[in-house]
């Protein structure tokens, strides 16, 4: 029980003392996850819209699969990326294994279905609203997607933020492809895992609280920049 209190205190201490290691791994966490979220959003948001707009035969199957892929087990993703990037794998020549780039790749694979699926869901109602008008105006599919992306940007932000949340807390995949190498690929979650294994529960918790704080801060900043929950409907 007092580990939790101790963890909170330690978190405060670490933050107040601007612990250099903490800052380093926090920034790396942010960099990896934000990059991954950006890439995943660029793929996932239009994909989600496309799924809302397009009717085709296996639509339901694709959507169910996408939903299921939201839960891609990170360890499996890590493994596959590891195999692909390892020296004996097809992309071994790039020497990406155990670099932040590899971690970003793994996260993109995890986050893209999540972002696509949530944005599909978010955009479905908007498409129902716009459907007749956009069909009547003889828009191309591209224009429909662009319009939905723009007019639904607030809801889509939630999808991206869900991706951010998932990414920043993820450990299974980046542990395998990043290797949790000190001063190279160690991020908050892998550090937490490490300290847990060492039995340093208080420190692990402290890092966890820092991570949660970071996630809340990012969410609050983005919400207030975008004024999502402020103005009535749009």
């Amino acid at each position: 029980m007092n580990e939790i209190v101790e963890g909170l205190l330690k978190a405060g201490q670490l933050i107040l003392s601007l612990d250099a290691d903490l800052i380093e791994i926090s920034l790396r966490s942010l960099r990896v996850t934000l990059t991954a979220v950006l890439i995943s959003s660029v793929i996932g948001l239009p994909l989600g819209c496309w799924l809302a707009v397009r009717r085709f035969r296996f639509r339901r199957f694709v959507i169910a699969t996408l939903n299921a892929l939201m839960g891609l087990p990170p360890v499996v993703v890590g493994l596959i990326v590891y195999i692909l990037l390892s020296r004996s794998g097809p992309f071994g020549v790039f020497g990406l294994l155990f670099t932040p780039t590899a971690m970003i790749i793994a996260q993109v694979i995890i986050l893209t279905p999540l972002i696509a699926s949530i944005s599909h869901q978010a955009i479905r109602d908007l498409w129902a609203e716009y459907h007749d008008l956009l069909i009547s105006l003889n828009t191309t599919r591209r224009q429909r997607i662009a319009t939905l992306l723009w007019d639904g940007r607030r809801a889509l932000l939630t999808a991206a933020l869900a991706g951010f949340g998932r990414g920043i807390g993820e450990v299974g995949a980046i542990m395998i492809v990043g290797g949790n190498i000190d001063h190279a690929t160690r991020v908050l979650t892998t550090a937490i895992s490490l300290e847990t294994g060492k039995g340093n529960f208080a420190l692990a918790l402290a890092l966890g609280f820092v991570l949660i704080g970071l996630a809340v801060a990012v969410n609050l900043i983005i919400h207030s920049l975008s004024r999502t929950e402020r103005s009535g409907r749009w």
């Binding site: 007749d132 009547s136 003889n138 749009w234």
Partner: protein
Amino acid sequence: MVDLPILPLTVTDAVVRRRGKVLVGPISAELETDGLTIVMGPNGAGKTTLLRLLHGMERVSKGQLTWRVPEPAARAAQAFVFQTPILMRRSALDNVAYPLLVHGVAKTEARARAAGWLEKVGLADSGSKPAHVLSGGERQKMALARALIREPQIVFLDEPCANLDGRATREFEDLLAETRAEGTRIVMATHDIGQARRLAEDVWFIHHGRIHEAAPAEAFFATPQTPEARAFIQGDIVE
């Protein structure tokens, strides 16, 4: 923008069926290049469905529509004003400018032209309002401007004056006459028999999903051929 004339439209035996029920049809009709057709009929008769069918927005279960030019070109030269205006989550001005943007007009020009149209429909001051705060009548005006801004060859209007006040209705009718004079084919559903009398060149009387009677306006109002049409015209004169 699209210069090829898309009319006439020939409809042969078109049927719209949903949930195993025939909503509209079989319909056979021809829309010539010129004219102003008023579609009338009781609530639930199928007016909206028929207009949507002509506009190519309803999957036909049988029959077909043939425009003078092939589909994509034909689609681009039509416009539709829906019975319940569809509001994009944008300002009124951007709502009206949208069809131009979609057709590649530059943003500043599109907005300038949209502002002109807002003025035409009496919404000069409301351009910057988000569409969803507009009043019922203002929404219909906005939807009208959005449909006409691209100068379609044919426009379908589904009870566009339902929420307009007297003056706005008159202004609408003037605008429609102008549009008609510029060569736009007009097909409009309305419940206002007075308005139908003022505007119609042809009347289609819809009943139970079929064109029960189609006739030149004068003939229709003077001597309706079917008891249903007669009853309908009478029924409306409530006073």
